[in-house]
Amino acid sequence: MTEARLSTASNQMTIAVSFRQVSRHFGSVKAVDAVDLDIRPGEFFAMLGPSGSGKTTCLRLIAGFEQPTAGSIEIFGSQADGVPPYRRNVNTVFQDYALFPHLNVLDNVAYGPMVRGVGRAERASAAEEALRLVQLPGYGGRRPGQLSGGQRQRVALARALVNKPKVLLLDEPLGALDLKLRENMQEELKSLQKALGITFVFVTHDQGEALSMADRVAVFHEGRIRQIGTPQEIYERPRSRFVADFVGSSNVLPPDFVKLHGGQPRWASLRPEKIRIGNGEAGQGVAGSVLSRSFLGATNRVTVEADGLRLQIVTPAGQPLPDDGATVSLHWLPSDLHLMEGPQ
């Protein structure tokens, strides 16, 4: 009975991409260092981290452009070690789009079917279909050089999707787009992923993008994953100082500060929107002085120095703001103070 349950469990638990103690070292540089990772089928998974954190190398390991120096990678249950990229049913949307400049848009999109030997008429209609999916119908005759950045990116997406990949990898695909276009593409990518049910793995250094688009986020730092979780978990309960710092603009409080204000002597994070500014009456809250204020549209941000620490506070627009240099008191609920495991 136990066995039967285990086998059904393992059927349901098929993992799209699994890393087991995967390392990729370049000489003495540990680009990826002993990473364990499970990406579920149909999931929108974001790899978030600063440049050089190993997130792109992880993506290239899944695509097959890099081979792990240690550990093993499985894609939908199949060993991927030593399998070249052209034998993986995984497609990539490159950061620079990597469209073939000597082919027109239709031939670019039809490239995958073409090298797999699909007939001319059939691959042309598949490519047209993919172009319709990314809202570029009728663009087949143009050259990549004649398209805008946003259009190139859609062509790159169509060129990958036409192959019906098991996993779609996206390497900072929105990095080169301007803000408005980026927001549109974020929504489109999200709805496309829902409609197609393909596993998306998305590399980005933009925490806002990762949090708003992904089902789960892995935060990378120095070749290791520091935390994996849903955007809410990562945002509200960062496990370490690095995660709290990198994801959003949380205030990171050192142990002695926390102890001074009645907590355990541990690193803690405190969200800027959880702090309330009082009028500075003695004996209440934490006393501080206002360093600067900036207008952010829907909110205001106030920087306050308290006990040698600079704290960011976000308040809704419309609330009265203290003047620069004014003495204020800061208040927060003890439950909003999130204790962390350590600096990393």
Partner: protein, 322 residues
């Protein structure tokens, strides 16, 4: 002085005075009229190209429309196509066909040998290996052309090092078998068309490697990865992405190897059979024979051949990726 004081603008002066002198005045003038600077820079080379270069070429072309009086040996300055007609005499046509065939084979062989070298240099060589590559490719160009050709004569001669090597390897029958083939063979490699071919490929190879390397250098690595990612085997990636994008470089290189082979008269003179190439025919006709019109007509042949070659390359889309 504090950093702020250092960086605060000096009072009163927003527009600086002219640097003064003729240099300052010229700088200001050229800045206001960039076209003038361009004109001054381009005028000497355009004059050179226009008058000395194209002018003498046109004078040469004009000569080809003159004819020679067979009895007196004097040049008849009436325009005629008679000299061009002489090109189609069997002996002269033979020279043209031999030269164009040799140029085509040398070009194809150079491209095949040069591509992997250029590919390595563009995609893998970094730092000192790249410097070494350039040195290795350029070094043969620094030594005298004649010395290199005579060195090859020694290598290819019957008593030469190549024969010695093949004898040691007990492979002499290979060379003998090859030399017994008509047209390409001969008494020894140094007096065969094969020898001419080997030396042509050796001497022109740098002119093929460098343009291909420059073309491959401009192909982003992500395109190769994208092709592989989309399911193309390495051979398919080469055929569908790498080669089309490198083709302008291959064509540029082949223009060098093709036209240099068409015009060379020293290599076939020193290494090869006694059968003439276009360059040798030109040399003989303008020198001892004093038949300048026929020499000029022979010179037009490579120009026409190259014209057709470039037209064909363009038709095949060789310049689409430029």
């Amino acid at each position: 002085m504090s950093a702020e004081a250092m960086l605060r603008p000096a009072p009163a002066v927003a527009i600086l005075p002219s640097r003064g002198g003729i240099v300052g005045a010229l700088s200001d003038l050229f800045w206001r009229k960039p076209g003038l600077l361009l004109f001054l820079m381009l005028a000497p080379p355009v004059l050179w190209l226009g008058i000395v270069y194209l002018g003498s070429l046109l004078a040469l072309l004009l000569q080809s429309f003159f004819s020679i009086d067979e009895f007196s040996g004097l040049i008849n300055r009436e325009l005629t196509l008679k000299t061009y007609g002489e090109l189609f005499l069997p002996a002269n046509l033979d020279i043209i066909i031999r030269t164009v065939t040799m140029a085509a084979i040398v070009t194809i062989a150079s491209a095949i040998i040069a591509f992997p070298i250029a590919y390595y240099a563009a995609r893998y060589a970094r730092g000192k290996w790249k410097a070494l590559f350039y040195l290795g490719i350029m070094l043969p160009l620094w030594s005298s052309y004649l010395v290199k050709i005579y060195a090859w004569k020694l290598i290819l001669a019957k008593e030469g090092i190549l024969t010695w090597l093949f004898e040691k390897l007990h492979l002499m029958w290979l060379i003998d078998a090859w030399l017994s083939i008509p047209v390409v063979g001969g008494n020894s490699l140094s007096v065969s068309a094969t020898g001419t071919f080997i030396v042509f490929v050796y001497v022109w190879l740098p002119f093929m490697v460098l343009p291909i390397q420059a073309a491959l250098e401009r192909v982003p690595g992500s395109l190769i990865e994208a092709s592989s990612d989309l399911g193309a085997s390495p051979a398919q990636t080469f055929r569908n992405v790498l080669f089309p994008l490198a083709l302008p470089g291959v064509v540029a290189g082949s223009i060098f190897t093709f036209s240099l082979t068409l015009g060379d008269y020293i290599i076939p003179q020193i290494i090869g059979t006694s059968r003439l190439f276009i360059g040798q025919a030109v040399y003989a006709h303008q020198g001892t024979a004093g038949n300048i019109p026929l020499a000029a007509a022979f010179t037009v042949v490579p120009i026409v051949v190259m014209g057709f070659y470039l037209w064909g390359a363009k038709r095949m889309g060789a310049f689409d990726a430029l």
